[in-house]
């Protein structure tokens, strides 16, 4: 059973506003890395926000099903049960934002440990384990800082590190979180290819480990998606016949999955890396 099942999802930011996204069907499974590609303003972030329960954009709550949830998320949303929705997000979700959203008055280590502070159910051993994980991630993803300061780099203020380092720290914070589903909104936008590759490698290691997890990243980087994604979800533009207002949509032709060394869409069409790149390039135009 898919981890997230989307059916007939229609997203609007308010009832009186036009439709911004329509997803007839989408299945996201554990152990896989999904890349969402599409041109600017097509609704990529809306999709992430909707799936991450950050914004209640959907008209019909039954259009979204989470396998990880023992409770009915649509019911919680309908009831506007903030405590239980928050609890669900805390136990299952992690986020990486392009603007990092790190706390400027906290240190590097404190920012990385923030999810542990939020989840007060994590016991001391768990906290120590996360602390160790943060250290390991700093060593591998922020090697320069580690080499210079070693463990003391955790005491550095956020204001004292570069934009790229902040981006990687946001990645570390998300990976340190005991998540089941990770959403990233252009998490590698400010990084060069090598560093972006390193981050995605670390992410893959996490989601394909003993405990299978799911990651869904919004990106404009076609190469990165083709190199690392298990599935690429392309958002194309559609428009309403009556209002003529454009909105993003996901069709079977625009969902590509890896098939050995080739790629296929849900209609069965096969692509090699080059042809997929062209296809996605056209989608992003």
């Amino acid at each position: 059973m898919p981890e997230i099942l989307v059916k007939n999802l229609i997203c609007r930011y308010s009832k009186d506003k036009p439709k911004v996204l329509e997803v007839p069907e989408l299945k996201l499974e554990s152990g896989k890395l999904y890349f969402v590609l599409g041109k600017s303003g097509i609704g990529k972030s809306t999709l992430i926000e909707t799936l991450g329960l950050m914004e209640q954009t959907f008209e019909d709550t039954s259009s979204l099903t989470f396998n990880v949830s023992k409770t009915s998320i649509p019911d919680l949303i309908r009831l506007n049960d903030d405590v239980r929705i928050s609890e669900f997000r805390k136990k299952n979700f992690a986020f990486i934002f392009q603007s990092t959203n790190l706390f400027s008055h906290l240190t590097l280590g404190e920012n990385a440990m923030m999810p542990c502070w939020i989840d007060d159910s994590i016991e001391k051993a768990g906290v120590e384990q996360i602390e160790q994980k943060v250290t390991d991630l700093i060593k591998s993803l922020l090697p320069n800082l580690w080499l210079k300061y070693e463990d003391k780099c955790k005491d550095l203020m956020i204001t004292n590190i570069s934009g790229g380092q902040k981006q990687r720290l946001a990645f570390i914070r998300a990976l340190a979180t005991p998540f089941k589903i990770l959403f990233g909104d252009e998490p590698t936008g400010n990084l060069d290819k090598k560093k972006a590759d390193d981050l995605i490698e670390a992410l893959l290691e996490e989601i394909k480990g003993k405990e299978k997890k799911l990651a869904c990243l919004v990106s404009h980087d076609i190469d990165l998606a083709i190199q690392h994604a298990d599935e690429i979800i392309g958002l194309s533009e559609s428009s309403d016949n009556s209002s003529q207002m454009a909105y993003g949509t996901i069709t079977g032709e625009n969902v590509y999955f890896r098939d050995n060394k080739k790629w296929k869409n849900q209609s069965g069409k096969t692509f090699n890396e080059e042809s997929l790149k062209d296809e996605l390039f056209n989608l992003l135009k």
């Binding site: 928050s86 609890e87 997000r89 979700f93 706390f103 939020i118």
Partner: protein, 512 residues
């Protein structure tokens, strides 16, 4: 736990103004000044209330003029008033606590080496249970007896006298300061007219003021002894005093006209010494200028040479009735009642109306106005301070939250519920205002009294009996108003901000 202990602490430091701590310094200043002003106003208000609730103040004297006695005796009139008061009181018209009769008489006092005497209204008290004595004893006394205790009723040792500070300053003049330390007695002329008898009475206490325009209080026993002229006993320690006659210039001139015979007698005795500066007296028939053996000072005044008629002597006494009211508000009504019922109460005519001393009521009414103003001041000050604290803290918190909206959205995205965010910021805001309140309170608790008294003394408003105590301030009420209300209102504002979805906060999207 880390959320409150680590993140909350960091948020607190950030909101306090990080390195400069300007915000926390500002809120501490606001709280300290507010608490001081509130404490001062509440203190002054309660001080005024205490003053007005004092039996001393609530005692209203009723003068029964001498002309009233033609319609009946003083005792009859006072009995009439008392019974009428009770009847009316029974109807609930006047809130009278007690009625007490006091007879005050005029006596002349002087100090042994002074040539001028002063008339004083002297009231007699029967015992320590006497209402008048209770009124006196409540006041802070300056005991000047060797044992620093009251000897008023020690009649076996000839008793003593309690005098008011004003009168003491008049009698002792420049020697006043010495009196307090040296136990100097006063001399009272207990037999004006024929012979004059100035007898020595120890001063047991000087009190700041006495009720009913009384200058001095003595015991009934002492008064009787004085009148029977068996009070004075020679005392060895004063044997070096010379008996002298003293006379003032003005009195001497009058005396020359009214009683030239008496003057010539003195002149012959004094061998031409100046009358004005005082002359040594030699008793008639004696060749010696030796003192009599104890320090009687014979004082000569115009009164000594004039035989006062009985009527004049009576006029020197004023008969008084003291009524102690539970509530001073009914005194004006009572005064009007007395005015309308003069004849019924036993006075001969309307002209001789009973006079109720309304000075206490006027003071009370003035204090009521001040009290009213102080209540308005307190309410205004509270409201202003609360508004100031709320607007100041709210703007700090709003700025901080506006600045950190995306981060707040991130916290929510990672699973921090609105309830937890509210609890977190409630604890931060509570600590922020609570610390300022606590600091302000402790500062005022320790230094408030000194500052208040310093300000009062700068304004020449200190009184010896003021006793303003800063701890009087209502801590709990102030805490509720200055801390709990602002925290609650700030929480309501944060709750509104938190209604936004995590996405709206992260991407700073207008929810509408």
């Amino acid at each position: 736990m880390g959320l409150y202990s680590k993140f909350g602490r960091k948020e607190f430091i950030e909101i306090s103004g990080r390195k400069t701590s300007l915000n926390i310094a500002a809120i501490i200043t606001i709280c300290t000044i507010t608490i001081f002003c509130l404490g001062a106003v509440i203190n002054i208000q309660s001080f005024l209330e205490d003053k007005m609730n004092d039996d001393y103040v609530k005692t209203v004297p009723i003068n029964i003029p001498i002309s009233c006695s033609s319609g009946g005796s003083f005792a009859d009139i006072s009995a009439n008033i008392e019974s009428n008061l009770k009847i009316v009181d029974g109807k609930g018209k006047f809130d009278v606590q007690s009625v007490y009769e006091v007879c005050a008489t005029n006596l002349d006092f002087k100090m042994h080496d002074k040539n001028q005497s002063y008339g004083a209204r002297v009231a007699c008290v029967k015992s320590e249970k006497d209402i008048l004595w209770n009124l006196v004893a409540k006041k802070k006394e300056i005991f000047i007896t060797p044992h620093k205790s009251n000897t008023l009723f020690n009649e076996d040792k000839n008793g003593s006298i309690v005098i008011s500070e004003n009168f003491a300053k008049k009698v002792f003049a420049s020697s006043y300061d010495d009196v307090i330390h040296q136990n100097i007695p006063v001399f009272v002329n207990h037999d004006p007219g024929d012979g004059d008898q100035f007898n020595k009475i120890p001063v047991s206490a000087i009190v700041q003021s006495l009720p009913l325009q009384i200058d001095a209080v003595i015991s009934n026993g002492l008064y009787n002894k004085l009148k029977q002229d068996d009070y004075l006993i020679p005392e060895d320690e004063l044997s070096n005093f010379e008996d002298r006659y003293w006379i003032s210039d003005s009195d001497y001139k009058k005396l020359e006209q009214s009683n030239p015979e008496f003057v010539s007698q003195i002149v012959s005795v004094s061998s031409g010494d100046s009358f004005v500066r005082g002359i040594t007296f030699q008793y008639p028939g004696s060749n010696e200028y030796v003192p009599k053996g104890f320090g009687i000072i014979h004082y000569l005044s115009i009164d000594d040479c004039i035989d006062l008629s009985d009527q004049e002597i009576s006029n020197r006494s004023t008969y008084k009735l003291i009524t102690t009211f539970n509530n001073l508000d009914s005194v004006r009504l009572f005064s009007k009642y007395l005015e309308e019922n003069t004849q019924m109460l036993g006075c001969a005519s309307d002209e001789s109306a009973l006079i109720v001393d309304l000075s206490s009521i006027e003071s009370k009414e003035s204090i009521d106005v001040i009290n009213g103003l102080s209540v308005i001041t307190i309410v205004a000050l509270y409201s202003f301070s609360v508004l100031l604290i709320i607007s100041f803290c709210l703007s700090i918190m709003r700025l901080h939250i506006e600045k950190n909206k995306p981060n707040l959205g991130t916290l929510k995205a990672f699973g921090l519920s609105n309830k937890k965010v509210l609890q977190l910021y409630a604890s931060v805001t509570f600590s922020f205002i609570g610390i300022a309140f606590l600091f302000g309170f402790l500062f005022n608790e320790i230094l408030g009294n000194y500052i208040l008294n310093g300000i009062l003394s700068l304004m020449n408003l200190t009184t010896k009996t003021a006793g303003l105590e800063f701890s009087n301030m209502n801590f709990l009420l102030s805490f509720l108003i200055l801390v709990c209300i602002p925290v609650s209102l700030i929480m309501m504002k944060i709750r509104l901000i938190l209604k936004s979805t995590p996405g709206a906060l992260v991407f700073q999207r207008d929810q509408q």
